[in-house]
Every structure is written in structure tokens, then in C-alpha cells.
Amino acid sequence: MPASEAVATQSKLGKQTEGKQKVIVVTLKKLLKNRLAVFGLFIIFIQILMAVFAPWITHYSPVTQSLVNSELPVGSENHWLGTDNYGRDMWSRIVFGARISLVVGLVSVILGLTGGIALGLISGYFRKLDGWIMRFVDLLFAFPGILLAMLIIAMLGTSLVNVMIAISIWSIPTCARIVRGSVLSVKKQEYIVAMKSLGAGNSRILIKHILPNCMAPIIVFATMRMATAILSTSALSFLGLGAQPPTPEWGAMIAAGQDYMWTSPHMTIVPGIAIMLVVFAFNVLGDGLRDALDPNMDLG
């Protein structure tokens, strides 16, 4: 008897996860119909592969100098993307740079989302705190984004970790606004009043019932923000505020290549293309997700 019961509950649980999966499957199907989004997904997938398997797909260290081989052009023997002014293999540097930009992007977006979601949920739900939190957010908004990041780095010092902190703080106000807006509309819904009438407490309602209803805009925001975060990391590194040489960061690579613009243009163009492709990929994926998650959008 117990065995058959276990099987029964197992099949029940199986059905439950099936129900959960359905939403994801529907969204994915819609997403896969969007060609640009699929292209974005493909690029991001490649970047992830590059980041994960970096040591296995490169023959040279990204930082070891080899002055004999300096400034080899694209398509050279053993260095298909060429080398830079110190003779470092460009392919190795791009691959390891993918690692850095992905990690910095992810960490800063996750940090920013955590802060933004917490502030947004609280200010949307508790009227008394709303004014205070939103004025604080306005204060953050008052600084132009990159300036705010530079200010924070100026205070904390130049390093990649500080870049992540700076970019995550920069993400907080926008995220808080987006979440607050969704909370305001969701908390008026009858099912939230119904949950209250069942005796659920504030934290339960907020985290278990309101937050999942706000996920769609948060997911889209997170994807778009990845693009901004990667671009800003490169921008800050280009200005010398982020990754320090010899770290193979794309923005820093462009900065280093500037002086060789006329003799070895690939030193700036290759990392430039890498940044462009990844930022483009995250942006179109974000667009695709927005369309796929919007129930009012019929893609046919």
C-alpha cells in the first residue's frame, strides 16, 4: 500500500511541476519565434561557452608577454586574431575578457536587482515608507549614471570589484521604480485582498504572492541591464577606472589599442566588436523576452 501511495504522490508532484513548466514552455516557444532574440540567445550562449571553457580553448596565456610576436595582424599563423603590442594573443584575451564581462555583468545585475527589488517591494506595499524611499531613489536618479559610477569608484578606488558595486548601485533606482509600479498595480488586485482574508501576513503576501506577479518586468529589466552593465564596465575600464592592466578586459583592451590605431587597428576593433555583439545580444534578448512575457502581445 505505502508503495503505491508513494507512486501516486510522485505522479501528483510530477503533474505539479508540469503545470509550472507550462508557463516557461509557452514563453520559450514565443521567444524562439523571434529571430533576433534567437540570435541574441546564440551570441550569449557562445559567450557563456567561452567564459566557462576559457583555459581549454586557448593555447596562450592572456597575460604572458612575447615581444617577439608583437602586433601580429589578424589571420597570422598560431594567432588567428593577431597579437597586441606586447605580443599577447588577442583570441586568449578576448576569451578571458568574456569571462570578466559576464561575471561583472551578472554580479552587478544580481546585486542591483536585490537592492532594487527590496526597495521597490517595500515602497510599493507600505504607503508610509513610500515617500521616503522614492525620494532616496530620486536622489540617486539625480546623478547621470556613469557619473554616479565614477563618483563611487573615486570614493572606493579603482578595481573591478568596485566597478561591480558602482554599477549595481546605479541599477537600484530604475529597478526600484519598476518593481514599485508593478507592486502598486498588483496589490490592488482582488486576489491579494482574498489572500489577506485568508489570514496571510504581510511578508508572506509580499514575497510569495506579489513578487511572482511582478517577475515579467523584472526579468526583462535584468536582461537589458546586463547589456548596460557590460557596456559600463568596458567604459569605466576604458577610462582607467575599472580593470587594471594586464587584466584582459575588453574596455581596457580598447584603451590600450588606441595608440596603435594606425599600425594595428585590430587591437581596438576586435574587442570593440566583442562588446558590440554582446551588448546587442542582451538588448535583443530583452526585447524578445518583453514581447514573449507580455500577455497582450500576440505574435501569431
Binding site: K15, G19, E190, Y191, L198, G201, P212
Partner: protein, 336 residues
């Protein structure tokens, strides 16, 4: 004497608005016994829903109970702390909402939502709650309950959703069920089924039920006692037979006349002229006087007191004074 479940005394609910504090409910008193269905009737905006939300203490942020008492199972609810109230809500008293379309969370399965009250109040494990959920769905007459547990609300029909709402509300076997127009959004055949269901479950669980409605047909079907509200005040209260056979207040009479009669071909629907006054209108005297065809000078200046028609039947209308005066005069003269 039946056991007293809920006793509302002189309840006043006010809303803070740009025009100052406005009263939506003005001194309403009533009681509900165990196993009894009390209907609150009145047109839209007369304070029915606010009365029921006041009992649950679920008023919108700008609303507050400013006077009166709500005693439930001997406990005073208006002075209770939020966390104590939460233990009662969904456990001892539960509510069903008007729109089954919006009262279920669209991002969760039916199973998730039915497990929630069981987890909150009964501290059941996932598996126990799941089993209990299936049982509850079966009880409210939902076919294939195992399958429904993993479905989302958009996959169910309106009647089915309302059954799910009822199952969720009844999950912890409450002693009081407040149903805020539970059938308004449903078509007529489903309406009858849902009303029967609530009635059966009431018998089974010995609940008290407060049914908020504007449909006199529903009242006739389910009510034991009826309370008629107008512009935030209780204007008439009676047992259901007495109210239908012998309505006293002109507003109640108007409500009964505005129900279509299918048996009588020549039946003319009579609407009550005018509309409900705004919350910020200052009205002296009876709040119904400017829509009442029998209004006298007294009605315009003095607020009517409560007259007793019989043990179960009270009404707030100055016309009673005249009638009761006439009656006593008549009995006096016949005695002579």
C-alpha cells in the same frame, strides 16, 4: 435560542478623502447566529461591501472603523491586534469575493492557492495540504480534483473558479462565511448551483453566512433574515417571509417592485426614481426622503427612529409612526 456568532453594534466606517472624512457605513447593528444566513441587500454603493469588509477588518488604506463594536465568538474585533486578527481570518471567518475571475492569483496553480490557508493556519505539510486540497475540491463538486490542482485559474470556467474560491474559503472550516455577491458574475444556472452549494455547506459545517447581494431572487432563495441598507444605514430588518410578504419601508417596496416577474405578462418593472446620494452630500432627516414618494415635512427634517413591526421585523421610517398611531387608534375605537 440559537448560538450568537457575530454581533455588530452601531458600526460606523469612515473614509479619508479629499473632501474630509466621509461615512460609508452609519451606525449599522445586526447579528448572525450559528447556522443562519443573513442577507444584506441594497443598491450599489450603499455600504454593503464596506460593512462586510469592516467585519473582516480588511478596509482599504484610507478607511477606518471609527465607532461601534464587532463581536465575533465573544471577542471584540475592532480592538484586536493585526496578528491576532490574521489568526481568525481564513481560519474562523472567511470571505468569498464577487469576481472569481480576479480573486484567484493568475501566476499560481489552484493547488498552490488551496494549500496556502492550510499551511498558514493548520501548519500542514505540502503533501498533507495537497491531499486535503483534493478533498476540498471534491467537496465543492469539482470533477477530476487531482487534475484541477495543477491547473491555473485561466484554465477554469467562471463557475468552476467560484467553486475553487469557496473551497479555499472553507479550507479551515470557518464558523462565519462572508459572501460578497458570490453569484453576480455568474450566469443564472451556475448561480443556482453555487447558492445551493453554499447552503449545503452551511448545513454541513453549521456556519453562519452573511450574503451580500442586490438580487432579491438570491435573497428569497437563501436568506433566513434580511437586512436592507440604504446610503450607509440599515433601514429595515426582518425574517425573509415577513420582508417579502409585508415590506414596510418604501425603499424595500421599491426594491421588490423592481424585480422582473416572469409569470405575469403585463408586469411593469418599476424603478426607484433618482440615484443614491453621494457620500459627501449632507442630508437632513431621512436619507431616502428625496427619492421617496411618501416623504413628509418630518422626513425632511428629522432622522427616523427605529420602529418595531413585530419581534423579527424593524424598520426606520416615519410612515410607521402614522400607521402605528392609526392602528392604535383603530384598536382603541374598536375597544370602545
Amino acid at each position: 435560542m440559537a448560538e450568537l456568532l457575530l454581533d455588530v453594534n452601531n458600526l460606523v466606517t469612515k473614509f479619508k478623502t479629499a473632501d474630509g472624512k466621509l461615512s460609508a457605513v452609519r451606525g449599522v447593528s445586526f447579528s448572525v447566529n450559528k447556522g443562519e444566513t443573513v442577507c444584506i441587500v441594497g443598491e450599489s454603493g450603499c455600504g454593503k461591501s464596506i460593512t462586510s469588509l469592516s467585519i473582516m477588518n480588511l478596509l482599504p488604506n484610507n478607511g477606518e472603523i471609527s465607532e461601534g463594536s464587532v463581536r465575533f465568538l465573544g471577542q471584540e474585533l475592532t480592538k484586536m491586534r493585526q496578528d491576532e486578527l490574521r489568526k481568525l481570518r481564513g481560519n474562523k471567518m472567511a470571505m468569498i469575493f464577487q469576481e472569481p475571475m480576479t480573486a484567484l492569483n493568475p501566476v499560481f496553480t489552484v493547488g498552490f492557492q488551496i494549500r496556502e490557508p492550510l499551511k498558514i493556519h493548520k501548519r500542514l505539510s505540502q503533501r498533507e495540504a495537497h491531499r486535503k486540497g483534493i478533498e476540498l475540491l471534491k467537496q465543492v463538486g469539482i470533477p477530476y480534483p487531482e487534475k484541477r490542482m495543477s491547473q491555473y485559474s485561466h484554465e477554469l470556467s467562471g463557475g468552476m473558479r467560484q467553486r475553487v474560491m469557496i473551497a479555499i474559503a472553507l479550507a479551515c472550516r470557518p464558523s462565519l462565511l462572508i459572501a460578497d455577491e458570490p453569484t453576480t458574475a455568474l450566469d443564472v444556472t451556475i448561480q443556482a448551483q453555487i447558492l445551493d452549494l453554499i447552503d449545503d455547506l452551511k448545513e454541513e459545517l453549521g456556519m453562519g453566512v452573511i450574503m451580500v447581494t442586490h438580487d432579491m431572487g438570491v435573497v428569497a432563495e437563501v436568506a433566513d433574515r434580511v437586512m436592507v441598507m440604504y446610503a450607509g444605514e440599515k433601514i429595515e430588518e426582518a425574517d425573509v417571509e415577513s420582508l417579502f410578504s409585508n415590506p414596510q419601508h418604501p425603499y424595500t417596496k421599491g426594491l421588490l417592485k423592481s424585480v422582473p416577474n416572469v409569470d405575469d405578462r403585463n408586469h411593469q418593472l418599476e424603478a426607484i426614481p433618482g440615484t443614491l446620494p453621494n457620500l459627501n452630500e449632507v442630508i437632513t432627516g431621512c436619507r431616502f426622503h428625496n427619492r421617496c414618494e411618501f416623504a413628509t415635512e418630518k422626513c425632511r427634517t428629522q432622522s427616523p427612529k427605529t420602529f418595531t413591526v413585530n419581534d423579527e421585523h424593524t424598520v426606520r421610517c416615519w410612515l410607521q409612526e402614522v400607521e402605528q398611531h392609526d392602528e392604535s387608534a383603530a384598536t382603541a375605537s374598536s375597544n370602545q
